[in-house]
Subunit: 359 residues, 2 copies
């Protein structure tokens, strides 16, 4: 087997490294930016570089198109044109419906690895990027060649990923809710806060409480990437916005009517839903949140993380909620599993920090 | 000077501890729940307990009403009725307009310490809870007695806080945007995700990406507290919702028209606004974000936090963005100041983890 990787950034570079080191498969790479290609070669992400896309694809069995979402339709079409009749072509884009139309060919299978969205560039590439990560595949019903699907599925497994088949529409609809809409709201929240804080009150108001910081962490994420994502998933995102607007309308009504019971019930449901969703996301059972009151001096997080690390307790998620000037605060720790969580609470308490299990 | 604290939870208990230990002022406490009162006495939050609110207030110079937001108007009125002509009464509620009306008395000054919202109960109380924390005071223009304002202001400084005067309306308007609206959106986002994931797709979709987890961290926060906050700030929250809806309408239009330029410009502005807001919030200059690629095994966070802690670099904020099953991920570190941030990046790189400065 030989594979081609078109686009040598974080994802493409990591595919190349994983394929070479974990699957022992030779990798030919291509990137329209020669400097990116050279860097990928230097870092061992590819065995050889091609000068052009068709030359990279020629004679390979699997082609990964790891271009930005906006450039994907063109790159996938070019790859299909250059690929042989027994070659499978896949992509790694964050939305899947648009590309499914562009790649309407029995040799094309859409893909989306849930990894690496937080940083960019081949410098961050590594062979274990996909270890344990879900990798969505969106084969076209009744159109994808079975032998090609099997080849891709097995290769992804060798890279460490867990391939999961899903239809493109469901994929995009869920991503609109759990990823794209939160990004839109983060942008709108900072705009609103900036508008209210930028005037006469500037400098004497708390720009950011913990809830604001968390809610806006992804505000203004990489513009090139996200403009493409928003545009390519516009339909599903518009639906998600519409559903949110309906929810806002309910909140408006409850506030207008001062309906304490409706507000309380809605808030209780949200807590249950979040716990259920978090639980779903972890194979090891529901995640529990521990809240620890700490002085926010250098070393405190280290003390806690060390104590848990030494005992083999993994911190699934962690957040600091410091006071405005970060002199003290609360550390939230999310630990998977009932026993692990109780163990973690005892370890933290033994360090002398007050701790409660919040969920 | 003698003070009374009415309501002995996290905030009331911490006020008592700080007043006793830092200001050397005797503290009389009252809580409608006798068990909470007994626990506060045991923990050293008060010198003595009163059986009833008027008995707690009698003969004191400063009264802190630390009741839940919904119970504040009644408790403040009772405190004012029991207080002498030279006694200042203040509260610690998260919204300030409603209580300003209830406490329309020259002896009343609204207050809101920005501390301790993340955990509840006197068990978490500590004398340094307010160290360095902004403590808003909302004196009524032309109505608050100067001598009482001065007394309260100086006492709060002794407790470690930074008292800042602000008009109640501005306070509530800003809080609606930076705190209450993010809580509303967190609830709506989990409801939407639960609806889309709870059906047939359940279990085969990623419930939570990092952006979703961050955006919904405060979903379903303490219902008793938050129902009161939403209701008491309904007007400002409705305004904030309205402004958000206008923003959503713009996003709808750009998506509908596939206006790449408008989307990109909006996203770029959001990044600049978030950086400006984060910078505003830290006295030590703008906060920089470092992104570190790490294997998400026990001990990694500890290694990083330790290395920074040893070098005296404080982590202002920290977030893990693990893959779905938490086998690897990216750690975002927010560090205040240009030099500190560069120093931190060098320390992290020396541990062998790839690191980039994202902002």
């Amino acid at each position: 087997m030989r594979i081609a990787v078109l686009g040598l950034g974080l994802i493409g570079g990591s595919i190349g490294m994983a394929a070479r080191r974990r699957a022992g498969v030779p990798v030919r790479g291509y990137d329209p930016d020669p400097a990116a290609g050279a860097r990928a070669l230097e870092l061992g992400a590819v065995d050889e570089l091609a000068d052009a896309l068709p030359a990279a694809v020629a004679g390979t069995d699997v082609v990964f198109v790891a271009a930005p979402v906006g450039a994907l339709p063109g790159a996938v079409a070019s790859a299909l044109a250059a690929a042989g009749p027994d070659c499978v072509v896949t992509d790694v884009g964050s939305t899947k419906r648009a590309i499914a139309q562009a790649g309407a060919d029995e040799r094309f299978i859409g893909g989306h690895p849930l990894a690496g969205a937080e940083s960019a560039g081949v410098e961050h590439a590594r062979p274990d990027l996909f270890e344990g990560a879900t990798w969505y595949l969106t084969p076209a019903e009744g159109n994808t060649a079975g032998v090609l699907y099997e080849r891709l599925h097995r290769l992804l497994g060798t890279l460490g990923a867990r391939p999961v088949a899903i239809d493109a529409e469901t994929h995009d609809r869920v991503m609109a809710s759990v990823s794209h809409l939160p990004h839109v709201l983060a942008n709108l929240l900072v705009a609103q806060a900036a508008g209210r804080l930028g005037g006469e009150e500037s400098g004497r108001l708390p720009a950011v409480g913990p809830s604001f910081r968390d809610a806006t962490r992804v505000a203004g994420s990489n513009t090139a990437i996200w403009t493409d994502i928003y545009r390519s998933n516009a339909g599903a995102l518009l639906d998600a916005i519409g559903e949110l607007e309906t929810g806002l309308q309910h909140v408006r009504e409850w506030l207008g009517a001062d309906d304490a019971e409706a507000i309380a019930g809605w808030n209780d449901r949200a807590r249950e839903q979040r716990e259920a969703l978090l639980g779903q996301a972890l194979a090891g059972g529901p995640v529990h949140e521990l809240r620890v009151s700490v002085p926010n001096r250098p070393g405190v997080v280290a003390d806690i993380a060390l104590a848990l690390g030494r005992a083999g307790v993994n911190i699934a998620d962690l957040a600091l909620a410091p006071s405005r000037d970060y002199t003290q605060g609360v550390v939230s720790l999310w630990i998977g599993g009932e026993e692990e969580s109780a163990h973690a609470a005892r370890l933290v308490a033994a360090l002398g920090f007050p701790v409660v299990q919040a969920s």
